[in-house]
């Protein structure tokens, strides 16, 4: 819905400006949700909590902890996880079909050359709008799953930085691949978590002196390391983990 409203005017813009205007719209909404005027509905800066009780009451998994070795889940997390992954699988299936359909072909052609597509009698604007709305809907589902798993939504947990995390994991997985974002997000999360705990343990064990890095700084340092990793990826595997290098090298027309 929101994507449709935003898309109608914004898609008249060129690619770069479209990206900027969507980020701007996100910020406008975030500030709007935070405002005291909207507080009865959005809960203002505190956001909403404990709204997904019905979701957890439907949990068929018996109360217990599951998992192995370091990875442990309680039944609530496992239920949220299962539903989220089911959604991911279904959406991947849907996208895979779409990408191979004539609809996906038009979309890829628009990526290549809008004017060529126009000259063949296809409405570029309408396809862009469709894909933006579809992307918005998928993003909304992701947001819903995230909100359900933590039982709280707060406008500030969707700040512009999140947008750039999403870009990062797209690039990481390989743009233009159905499973790219999935692999990218798993890897992004894993790297963040592993680096985080590795650094913390190293500090506790005294391998890293206090003068170099202290425990509270770890949060920032891990992003620096992810950034470094991304740069290395761009240099040695610019197509992402799943992308096709041949397709990328054909960029020049």
């Amino acid at each position: 819905m929101l994507a449709l409203l935003l898309g109608l005017p914004a898609l008249r813009l060129r690619a770069e400006y479209l990206a900027i205007s969507t980020i701007a719209a996100g910020e406008i909404l975030r500030l709007f949700y935070r405002s005291s005027w909207a507080e009865p509905v959005t809960g203002g800066v505190f956001g909403l909590q404990r709204f997904a009780t019905a979701f957890y009451q439907a949990n068929p998994i018996p109360r217990d902890t599951y998992g192995f070795w370091l990875v442990q889940f309680n039944s609530r997390d496992l239920w949220a996880l299962a539903v989220a992954w089911a959604v991911v699988l279904v959406l991947c299936g849907v996208i895979a079909v779409l990408v191979r359909s004539p609809w996906g072909r038009v979309l890829r052609s628009i990526r290549e050359d809008e004017d060529a597509v126009r000259s063949l009698g296809k409405s570029v604007y309408s396809y862009k709008l469709q894909s933006l709305v579809l992307g918005g809907a998928i993003g909304a589902m992701g947001g819903m799953m995230l909100a359900i798993s933590t039982q709280s939504v707060n406008p500030d947990s969707y700040d512009p930085v999140v947008t750039f995390f999403l870009y990062t994991l797209l690039v990481l997985g390989g743009a233009g691949r159905v499973l790219g974002p999935v692999i990218g997000s798993i890897l992004f999360w894993a790297v963040l978590t592993v680096v985080d705990s590795a650094l913390r343990q190293a500090i506790t064990a005294g391998h890293i002196p206090e003068s170099v890095l202290t425990a509270p700084e770890v949060g920032a340092a891990r992003f620096a390391l992810v950034g470094l990793g991304l740069m290395l990826l761009m240099i040695f595997r610019p197509q992402g983990l799943l992308g096709s290098r041949r397709e990328m090298l054909l960029d020049a027309r």
């Binding site: 004539p102 890829r108 004017d115 041949r246």
Partner: protein
């Protein structure tokens, strides 16, 4: 058989027996520069019309405006009796007036076959809910593929079917773009310099394709600034200079027309010097 144009007067704005595209009072200016200023122009159905003129004469701009890729400053034009001024480019293309570009616009990171299949009109699988159900569009897709293969065969591109279009040579891209335009089932094609950058042997076969299309009933209009190329293939020639139509007529007549010679050699000159040197 091409329509008979022998009764048509060889003067700018001449009325044709069966005009498909009619342009009236079309102007396109960039600031103070008037790029196109065409008072009246009719393009006959079922023949090959060549649009010639020196660089900067406004030929490509005229094409861009007619096909909806650029907005005119003023003026209107109609195609097959329907006014199409102000329509979006894709609507004009859907109406049967399909163009190609001077700088080819092949889709580099897609295969030659996909470039072709994209062009087919009215595909069910291009609509969003239907795209999700392959059984609804797989039959149509097979028919489209068969047609695409047929056209690729005709333009001798079959061996490149599964290559990325970005790996094709300039001339092959011209052919691909033309074949792609034909897959849309056009009534009339506007070809912007189909012969530029194409080697002579390939250009020869391109010209044959143009005549074949005409013989099948298609209306062809192409831009070209090389006079020699134009003479053999076209039924009617329109010459532009400084945005205006300065002459039109059968190829032989236009070649002798003093304003055409002026346009090519620069106005306010005496007899064409190149010709005199040749005769000695």
């Amino acid at each position: 058989m091409p329509a008979d144009l022998s009764a048509v007067l060889a003067e700018p704005g001449a009325a044709k027996p069966d005009p498909l595209l009619v342009i009236d009072g079309l102007r396109r200016s960039f600031g103070g520069l008037i790029a196109v200023d065409v008072g009246h122009l009719e393009i006959q159905r079922g023949v090959i019309t060549a649009l010639i003129g020196p660089n900067g004469a406004g030929k490509s701009t005229l094409f861009n405006v007619i096909s909806g890729f650029e907005k005119p400053t003023e003026g209107h034009w109609s195609f097959a009796g329907k006014p199409i001024a102000g329509l979006a480019a894709h609507r004009i293309a859907r109406g049967g007036l399909v163009r190609t570009f001077q700088l080819t616009r092949t889709l580099g990171r897609m295969t030659v076959l996909d470039n072709m299949r994209l062009a087919a009109p009215g595909q069910r699988g291009e609509r969003l809910p239907l795209a999700l159900l392959p059984p609804l569009w797989l039959a149509g897709e097979r028919a489209i593929t068969a047609r695409a293969d047929e056209l690729l065969e005709r333009f001798r591109l079959s061996h490149l079917r599964d290559e990325y279009a970005g790996t094709l040579s300039g001339g092959q891209r011209k052919l691909l773009e033309m074949a792609r335009a034909l897959l849309t089932d056009p009534v009339m094609v506007l070809l912007d310099e189909p012969m530029s950058g194409v080697n002579p042997a390939l250009a020869e076969s391109l010209l044959e394709h143009l005549s074949d299309l005409r013989d099948e009933g298609m209306t062809v209009c192409f831009v070209e600034h090389d006079m020699d190329v134009v003479m053999g293939v076209s039924d009617w020639v329109v010459c532009m200079a400084d945005g205006e139509v300065v002459a039109e007529g059968p190829p032989a007549t236009v070649a002798q027309n003093p304003s055409v010679i002026d346009a090519y050699l620069g106005a306010r000159r005496g007899a064409p010097p190149a010709r005199e040197i040749d005769e000695e």
